[in-house]
Symmetry: C2
Subunit: 151 residues, 2 copies
DNA sequence: CTTGTTACTTAGGCACCCTAACTGTTAGGA
DNA sequence: TCCTAACAGTTAGGGTGCCTAAGTAACAAG
């Protein structure tokens, strides 16, 4: 019960946690390789769904630097999935809005990806799914803890 | 309780699961950006710890194609962290073994990464950590389900 | 009206991954 | 024995996504 022991447990958990993260990278890679729309682009596109998202906000939400967001936005624009327009209130800013094609692309991509994952989850027992479901909010919290440190 | 409803629940869970995976990508990215040894290289190096791992085995374990593994191995070799030597039993094959420097690099990198994650996990409640701990084996199972599809 | 800050874009570069093509080795017939 | 198919890795070439540094343009404050 001393500090050392607690740390040891924590470190062991951290190790397993890292391994799980590593696995999810593979899973995501696989998911990406079977779709037209990459995860990065899907993330941008999703933010552009509700009207006009600013480039900086998109970057922040995706955990990347502004130029990286710009790059994805330009690709999406060329693909006709988003439009860039000047912000009426601040002409330095750019509003990124999904086009109709963009909207439908998101829906399709999201559905296909969800189905893929659901297919995997479907092979689990209900108890296992419950365990996952219970863990997801904690993952969210962890993500929130990671976020604020910013860049 | 009909199939449709089950599917709906499953899809919703899949959606949340995807979101959690997305977050772990950010977390891993952050982890990587603060270290010398990248995740990709650490993965290769770890496989090279117990004697001689074959290039193909490394690639398979890391979920990448052989040329990608070769690339990382060459980098590690240039950094003096692994050695490549011919397999005595099959001279087509190459054995990749960690050097002393490689071993110590793994230890340091692993420890630093674990400490980083432990620092995050340490801010959770014990109950939350328990939930995570319970979920990790299920993540492993999911990874195993994803793996076999191979290519 | 100048000066600093802010929002974004452009330019250049790096890491990691992939497919296709090549080299060398092994193994299984004819 | 020799020829050929399969196999293990490497090389070549290309794509994506991310980053920093250096522009450009617009706002905001003195």
């Amino acid at each position: 019960m001393n500090t050392l022991q607690v740390d040891k447990t924590l470190l062991a958990l951290a190790q397993s946690f890292r391994e799980a993260m590593r696995q999810s990278v593979y899973l995501l890679r696989r998911l990406d390789s079977e779709e037209q729309l990459s995860s990065a682009q899907l993330g941008v596109l999703k933010m552009a769904l509700d009207g006009g998202a600013r480039v900086g906000a998109i970057a922040r939400n995706l955990g990347v630097k502004v130029p990286s967001a710009t790059e994805q936005i330009i690709k999406l624009e060329r693909a006709g999935l988003v439009q860039r327009e000047a912000d009426p209130d601040d002409s330095r800013a750019v509003r990124v809005a999904a086009t109709a094609a963009g909207r439908s692309a998101v829906e399709h991509a999201d559905q296909r990806r969800n189905e893929f994952i659901a297919g995997i989850l479907g092979t689990l027992t209900q108890a296992e799914r419950d365990v996952i479901e219970a863990a997801l909010p904690v993952f969210d919290k962890i993500a929130g803890l990671n976020d604020p440190v910013q860049n």
